[in-house]
């Protein structure tokens, strides 16, 4: 038995990828939960908003790369990210003016807005594929690893290697910074409090002098920043392909609902719950179990509960379980 090698192997294939994927889901779910809490509908266009933000960032990254600009060991995409966020803010504000505002003025019920957001989703989906095409795009440059498997083996003398990709470190650091900023904004600033007040009790917020259009605008701006950041981090870590963002919608919604819709803290917890379930269930445990068990009991098969092709089934099942047994989610969100 060799616990050290087992743990290193587990970290390499489950813990570290899980934390990075969880951070990306958490950022995505935060955007969904904000729209649900403040604008009161589930925004099905969120995945494609992420794709749009990532697309703008990819285009600007390519342009910067062609100019020879680089951040050294860091990916150039980080330099392009603010432009991507700006582009997405413009897109969301234009969408709001052109589409959502009409329904707000009609006092349309939230479920109407859900359907409307699906229409918006298809349009955004089309725009992204039209501009950048449906294929995989690479835009990652800079140092690929913070610690590579080989140097780790040489350093420690263990059989198992531990690789930490620079994109994973960047993902986690960015997520922590963004979440801290968001919570500071919502809990400490006047504008943030007015958003929470509007979410809590719209009528009373109006009587207190809160301008609803301003709250809506602020919400879209924050959602644009969150979605673009999440989309770019995911694209850097894996690759940019418009269709994967559309598929990401399911784990993102599962995260938001598992944590409790409308609860920012819940969205973060939900992101990690979904990410770790997905990674652990689709991971082949043969190696780790081989280290942990006496040789005679070592498994012959891969000990993989589900093929990675079925990873979306995991979020779907978790979503079903939560909705059946704890519909308010882990953090007592607003859904009943």
């Amino acid at each position: 038995m060799d616990f050290l090698n087992a743990f290193v192997s587990l970290s390499n294939y489950v813990l570290i990828p899980g934390v990075a994927y969880g951070s990306q889901l958490a950022l995505g779910a935060l955007g969904v939960t904000l729209v649900y809490g403040i604008l009161r509908f589930s925004n099905f266009a969120h995945g494609d908003t992420m794709a749009f933000g990532a697309m703008v960032t990819v285009l600007v990254t390519w342009w910067l790369q062609s100019l020879g600009v680089s951040l050294g060991p860091l990916p150039t995409a980080l330099l392009a990210l603010p432009v991507g966020i700006l582009g997405t803010i413009v897109l969301l504000l234009v969408t709001d003016r052109a589409v959502y505002q009409f329904y707000r003025e009609k006092k349309a019920k939230p479920v109407i807005l859900v359907i409307v957001s699906m229409g918006v989703m298809f349009i955004m989906n089309g725009i992204v594929r039209f501009v950048i095409g449906p294929d995989d795009q690479r835009f990652l440059d800079g140092e690929r690893f913070v610690v590579s498997a080989r140097t780790f083996k040489e350093m420690t003398g263990l059989d198992e290697g531990l690789a930490i990709k620079s994109t994973q470190v960047i993902t986690v650091i960015t997520a922590v910074v963004v979440v801290a900023l968001l919570f500071w904004f919502l809990n400490r600033t006047r504008a943030g409090k007015s958003m929470r007040a509007y979410s809590d009790n719209e009528d009373l917020a109006l009587l207190s002098g809160v301008n609803p259009e301003r709250v809506v605008m602020l919400t879209w701006i924050i959602v644009a920043a969150l979605a673009t950041t999440a989309g770019v981090l995911y694209g850097l870590d894996k690759s940019f392909k418009p269709f994967t963002y559309f598929q990401l919608l399911l784990p993102i919604f599962a995260s938001a609902i598992v944590g409790g819709l409308g609860s920012p803290l819940g969205a973060i917890a939900g992101g990690f719950v979904i990410a770790f379930s997905e990674v652990t269930i689709t991971y082949a445990w043969k190696k780790v179990l081989g280290y942990m068990m006496p040789e005679s009991l070592a498994p012959d098969g891969l000990v993989q509960l589900l093929s990675t092709d079925y990873k979306f089934a995991v979020s779907f099942v978790i979503l079903l379980i939560v909705l059946l047994f704890k519909p308010t989610g882990l953090f007592k969100g607003q859904s009943v």
Partner: protein, 274 residues
């Protein structure tokens, strides 16, 4: 409702549509300007006729007024239009006739939000606090339109409602019914209003808490803020009232000082249970 293209047709799926805290008010026309109209009582809704949206008239030539330093109380049977009269004064329904004047200005055309800026404080009957926010945040939101330093006002409110100081960092939704009402009144007072309007402040609280709330309301009135109040508990309310209005079917039935109305045989028989 099936004819409403923007309705939800009975959708109850909270996992896609958030049912909480949404706007329930009828769309009220925006804008409009206040014009000078000197003379008359401090706040008066005069000859008000109207209802919600394009619905039937609920108020018929109804007049309600309050003078500086007074407590005016609106009482009447269920469905008499008491709350509606209050909402009409606050601009939450369209008046087809009549005027609302505040402090020498005609504010009939103003939206409720603009009336708050003109110095009206309104405490609705239900959903009158931000339940998920702390007591202190509730008070801060009350002062949202103020750009000056409002910490002094907050201290005054904590002096007026000492229990709120102890619970300032608690979520307002976790407080008892009486304490919630104090938060609601405190929130409305944060704008330093020129007049305070309370819609059934004692609804759903125990008799002991009710007495305490009435004491607090008298204290607020002693600070010089005129109070216009709708009350179910007619007898207690008229006892503290300088002026009382008895409404029946959206019209003034009896008007007088609180003492006069309590002494009036007709009023006693019809509304106060003998």
């Amino acid at each position: 409702m099936s004819s409403d293209p923007y309705g939800d047709r009975g959708n109850k799926d909270a996992s896609i549509a958030n049912p909480r805290g949404g706007s329930t008010s009828h769309p009220v026309k925006k804008g409009g300007h206040a014009s000078a109209a000197p003379g008359g009582p401090f706040l008066i809704g005069e000859g008000m006729t109207g209802g919600y949206g394009s619905g039937p008239d609920i108020l018929h030539d109804c007049t309600i007024a309050v003078e500086k330093g007074e407590i005016a109380v609106i009482v009447g049977p269920n469905g008499a239009g008491k709350s509606t009269a209050m909402k009409a004064v606050f601009g939450m329904l369209d008046l087809r006739a009549g005027h609302v004047r505040l402090d020498g200005e005609d504010i009939t055309a103003l939206s409720p939000q603009d009336r708050v800026r003109k110095g009206m404080g309104f405490v609705p009957q239900t959903n009158n606090i931000f339940a998920s926010m702390t007591v202190e945040e509730n008070l801060e939101m009350g002062a949202f339109i103020r750009t000056d330093d409002f910490r002094g006002t907050m201290e005054q409110i904590y002096d007026l409602f000492p229990i709120l100081r102890d619970k300032r960092y608690q979520a307002a939704g976790e407080l008892s019914g009486g304490q919630r009402q104090q938060v609601a009144v405190g929130r409305a007072l944060m704008t330093q209003p020129k007049v305070l309007m309370l819609d059934e402040p004692t609804a759903g609280v125990s008799p002991i808490v009710m007495d305490e709330l009435f004491d607090r309301i008298i204290e607020v009135a002693r600070t010089g803020i005129p109070i216009l109040m709708v009350e179910q508990n007619a007898r207690q309310a008229l006892e503290i009232a300088d002026k009382g209005y008895v409404l029946v079917q959206g019209a003034n039935a009896y008007t007088g000082t609180g003492k006069d109305l309590l002494a009036d045989d007709e009023v006693r028989k019809s509304f106060l249970g003998g």
